[in-house]
Structures are given as structure tokens and as C-alpha cells.
């Protein structure tokens, strides 16, 4: 192989770490630009009806077509995705706080641990959608209701993982050895346990986003979530149901695809961050 060929090969075969970072960077950039675009778009101008061009199929002027009130679907979808990210972010923060509290709490003693496990199982045993609808209604619906409902129901997997992880670390030989060296419980929690679970927490939060977004969309679709005047993806999809039979396929197709794309991007970031933070795979 000549030298130039070798150089060329190296450029394409980036090492895994750089590749992972690149994927994370690009995915994050897309999500960030979707989020920021929400603040740059003039909401009232975009959402005002314009009956000159209703039900236009996708064109270069209207990428995702227009709806029965002549609103540009691309703009509506973009605004919908922004709302989804916002709900996802708030809900994930709430869920993570609950999960960390319960996870740490469970390591106090066996009785508390049993209680925490029981609470996790209790919440896990109620059908997810049903619980979200009930909590959303209890908080009065709307944006606030959806955020609280999704936030208060998505902590169970992360709490379970954290509890198991803390338990595993606590019974490991290097923690026992640390006490042998005369280190205090606080020192061990700060230097040993926290750095080991922080990566779990970060990955857990990022992977919670897709769930939160999907559930927000589904209860909005069912009519228990965001109010009908918001351009949420769930609202867009449920409204377009009426027009699908008339052949206006673009009303549901593109927003649905965009939502799927958003969810996959979060999933991609989560998986790749996990790869980076795990020393077993980070050094490959």
C-alpha cells in the first residue's frame, strides 16, 4: 500500500472514540438547532390560517405540505418537536431526582431497601399510559400536567438500576478494602460510589428522553395531554386522522417520521455516551 493510500484509509477509519464523539456531536447539534429554532420562529405568523393555500402536497415552498387551514406543516412540526424536547427535559429532571433519592435511600438498611423495592414494583405494576393520564388529570392537565405526569412515572427503571448498582458496589471487595484502609463512609461515597454511578445517571437521563417524548405524544394524541391549540406532535397526528381518508397523507407522515427521528437521535446519543463512559468499551 502506498503512503497516500494509507493516509486516505486512516481518514476514513477514524478511531472508535473519535467516531463516537462525532456521532454524539452531530446528533446533539441537530437536537439543539430544533430546540433553538422554536425561539426564532414567529409563532403567531406561522400558526395563522391562510385559506389561499390549504391542503397543499409537499413542495419546495412547503416541505411538509400544508394543512386544512393553510398552515405550513414543516413549521408546525418543528414547533411540535420543540415542545416534545421541553417536556422530555423537564420530565427527565423530575424522574432523575426521584430515582437518585430512592436509589441512595435504599442503601441505608434492609428494611428501607424492601420498602423502596415495594414502591418501585407498585409503580411498575400500574399500566403506564393509564397512570400518566390519571396523574395528568390530577395536576389539571395542560403543559404542567403532562410534565408532572411523565416525570412522576418514568423513574422506576433508573431507580431500579441505581439501587442494584449501589448494592453491587457496596458489597464489592474494593469498598471493603477502603474501610480497611480507614476511610470514612462519606469518603467512600464521594470517591468510590458517586463516580461509579454518575455515568449510569447520565445515560439513564438521556435514555429517558425518548420514553418521555413518546408518552407525551401518545397522551396528547388521546386527548388527555396538551391543549388542542398547541402545535404538539400528538395533537397534529390526532387532527390529521380525519383527513387521512381524503388522501392528505403528508399531514401524518412527516410529523410522525420527524418524531421517530427525534426519538432515535436521543437513543443514539444515549448509546454512544454509554460507550464512552464505560471503561470496558471506552478504550477499544
Amino acid at each position: 500500500m502506498t503512503k497516500t493510500e494509507e493516509k486516505h484509509k486512516k481518514f476514513l477509519n477514524l478511531n472508535l472514540r473519535t467516531k463516537t464523539l462525532l456521532i454524539i456531536g452531530i446528533a446533539f447539534l441537530i437536537l439543539f438547532s430544533v430546540f433553538v429554532s422554536n425561539y426564532l420562529i414567529d409563532h403567531t405568523a406561522v400558526l395563522t390560517s391562510n385559506f389561499y393555500n390549504i391542503n397543499q402536497p409537499p413542495s419546495f415552498e412547503h416541505w411538509f405540505g400544508t394543512d386544512w387551514m393553510g398552515r405550513d406543516m414543516f413549521m408546525r412540526t418543528l414547533l411540535g418537536l420543540g415542545i416534545s424536547i421541553g417536556v422530555g427535559a423537564f420530565a427527565s429532571i423530575i424522574s432523575t431526582i426521584i430515582a437518585i433519592l430512592l436509589g441512595v435511600f435504599s442503601s441505608v438498611n434492609t428494611i428501607v431497601d424492601e420498602a423502596v423495592t415495594a414502591v418501585i414494583d407498585l409503580f411498575g405494576s400500574i399500566p403506564h399510559i393509564l397512570l400518566i393520564i390519571l396523574v395528568s388529570l390530577a395536576f389539571g392537565g395542560g403543559y404542567y400536567g403532562v410534565v408532572m405526569a411523565v416525570g412522576l412515572t418514568h423513574w422506576t427503571p433508573l431507580a431500579r438500576v441505581l439501587r442494584a448498582e449501589i448494592k453491587k458496589i457496596n458489597t464489592s471487595e474494593y469498598i471493603k478494602l477502603s474501610t480497611e484502609f480507614g476511610k470514612s463512609k462519606m469518603w467512600i461515597a464521594k470517591k468510590h460510589i458517586f463516580p461509579l454511578i454518575i455515568s449510569q445517571i447520565i445515560v439513564g437521563v438521556i435514555l429517558m428522553f425518548p420514553h418521555a417524548i413518546m408518552h407525551e405524544a401518545s397522551i396528547s394524541f388521546l386527548g388527555f395531554g396538551l391543549p388542542a391549540h398547541e402545535p404538539a406532535i400528538g395533537i397534529i397526528l390526532s387532527e390529521s386522522m380525519k383527513y387521512l381518508s381524503m388522501g392528505y397523507w403528508w399531514l401524518a407522515f412527516y410529523p410522525g417520521l420527524a418524531l421517530l427521528f427525534l426519538v432515535l437521535l436521543f437513543d443514539l446519543i444515549g448509546e454512544n455516551v454509554h460507550k464512552l463512559l464505560d471503561p470496558q468499551s471506552a478504550q477499544e
Partner: protein, 203 residues
């Protein structure tokens, strides 16, 4: 100084004792070898003496004084599997300095290479990790070393190098060693006395 374990009894399951009325005494200028079959309770005894297991009956004393548990424990156990005793997200220099910062000469006698210090535990072999875990146990506050099959995973040459370094250091610093193994030839070379586990454990 003497390390005395008197009338130690311990059971993992009720009514099925694994250690019964076991007594052992180790002087700080000798290496005592302990030999026994697999599963006979050697490792359990090591954990009792070095403070890993707390709810045993009997006493472990240093010159008739009970051992303070809050501070650095003067009896250090070195495990058979070093990889389990290291935080997988700590680099080796952090693993080592959790106990103390050994002088450069000591690191050289154990054959520790400087570039190992910047690596993660999963990037070093078992033998390399075991040097770290031995060196870590040689803190100035250590009075006795319990070596539980520490050289089983090493090749013959490394075994000699590590044992030589360990025995030298312990002679100089008056650290007593309890060497547990089922390798009779090894114990005959390194130990001043050899005890048979089945004889001192009165089951």
C-alpha cells in the same frame, strides 16, 4: 509483637460451623505457612483475622490489645484475585495512593513500571495488578500481612521476584506474614513454620 487469634468460631449457616475453636499465633519476625484443602475455610479464617468478617466468636488481638476498627486496620489481607479489589474507574496511581505513596525504590523492587500508573485496572494483567495490591498493603501502619494464595496466578519467575521483595520488606519492617496456600513446595521455601489447617481447626 504477636498476632493472636483465640478460639475463633464462625458459621455461614447456623449449625454448620466452618471454623471451630481455632487458635493461631503469629510473631512479627516470622512467616507462618498455612496449608489446607479447597473449601476447608482458609479464606474465611483470613477474613476473620483481617477484619472483613465481624460477627465471629473469639478474639483477635495484637499483643493482647483488641484492634481499633475505625482507623487503618493493622492486619492487611491480600486477595487471590487482585482485579476484584480495585475500583474499575480508578487509574492505578489512584488505586495505589488510596493506601499510601510508596518510595520509588520499593516500586522498583516489585518491578512496577512507571507507565502502568496511568492505566486502568482492566489494561493490566493479573500478575501486574497483584504487584499493586501487595504494595498497597505494605503501608507503614501495617503490622501483619495475610497472604491468601497471592501468587497462584503468577508464573514461576514472577513468583520468586514478588515473594523475595515481599519477604525482604517484611523482615526489615518487622511485619509478620501468614501465607496461605495449597502449594507445599512454595510454603517449604518461604515459611519458617507450616501449619496444617485441618489440625488447628477443631471441627
Amino acid at each position: 509483637m504477636y498476632l493472636n487469634a483465640n478460639n475463633i468460631s464462625y458459621a455461614y449457616k447456623k449449625n454448620k460451623p466452618i471454623l471451630k475453636n481455632l487458635s493461631i499465633s503469629i510473631p512479627d519476625n516470622k512467616v507462618i505457612g498455612l496449608m489446607g484443602d479447597s473449601g476447608s475455610g482458609k479464606s474465611t479464617l483470613c477474613k476473620v483475622i483481617s477484619g472483613y468478617i465481624k460477627n465471629y466468636t473469639g478474639t483477635v488481638t495484637l499483643d493482647n490489645n483488641l484492634i481499633e476498627t475505625k482507623d487503618f486496620y493493622p492486619i492487611q489481607l491480600i486477595f487471590q484475585h487482585p482485579e476484584k479489589t480495585m475500583n474499575p474507574k480508578w487509574k492505578m496511581h489512584k488505586v495505589l495512593s488510596e493506601s499510601w505513596n510508596p518510595p520509588q525504590e520499593l516500586m522498583d523492587t516489585f518491578g512496577l513500571k512507571d507507565n502502568w500508573l496511568g492505566r486502568w485496572p482492566n489494561e493490566l494483567s493479573g500478575g501486574e495488578l497483584q504487584r499493586f495490591s501487595i504494595l498497597r498493603a505494605l503501608n507503614p501502619k501495617t503490622k501483619f500481612i495475610i497472604a491468601d494464595e497471592i501468587s497462584t496466578m503468577l508464573d514461576a519467575v514472577t513468583q520468586v521476584q514478588i515473594w523475595d521483595a515481599l519477604l525482604d520488606y517484611c523482615k526489615q519492617n518487622k511485619i509478620g506474614i501468614l501465607a496461605v496456600s495449597h502449594d507445599k513446595e512454595l510454603l517449604e521455601v518461604i515459611a519458617d513454620d507450616i501449619l496444617l489447617f485441618n489440625e488447628i481447626n477443631k471441627l
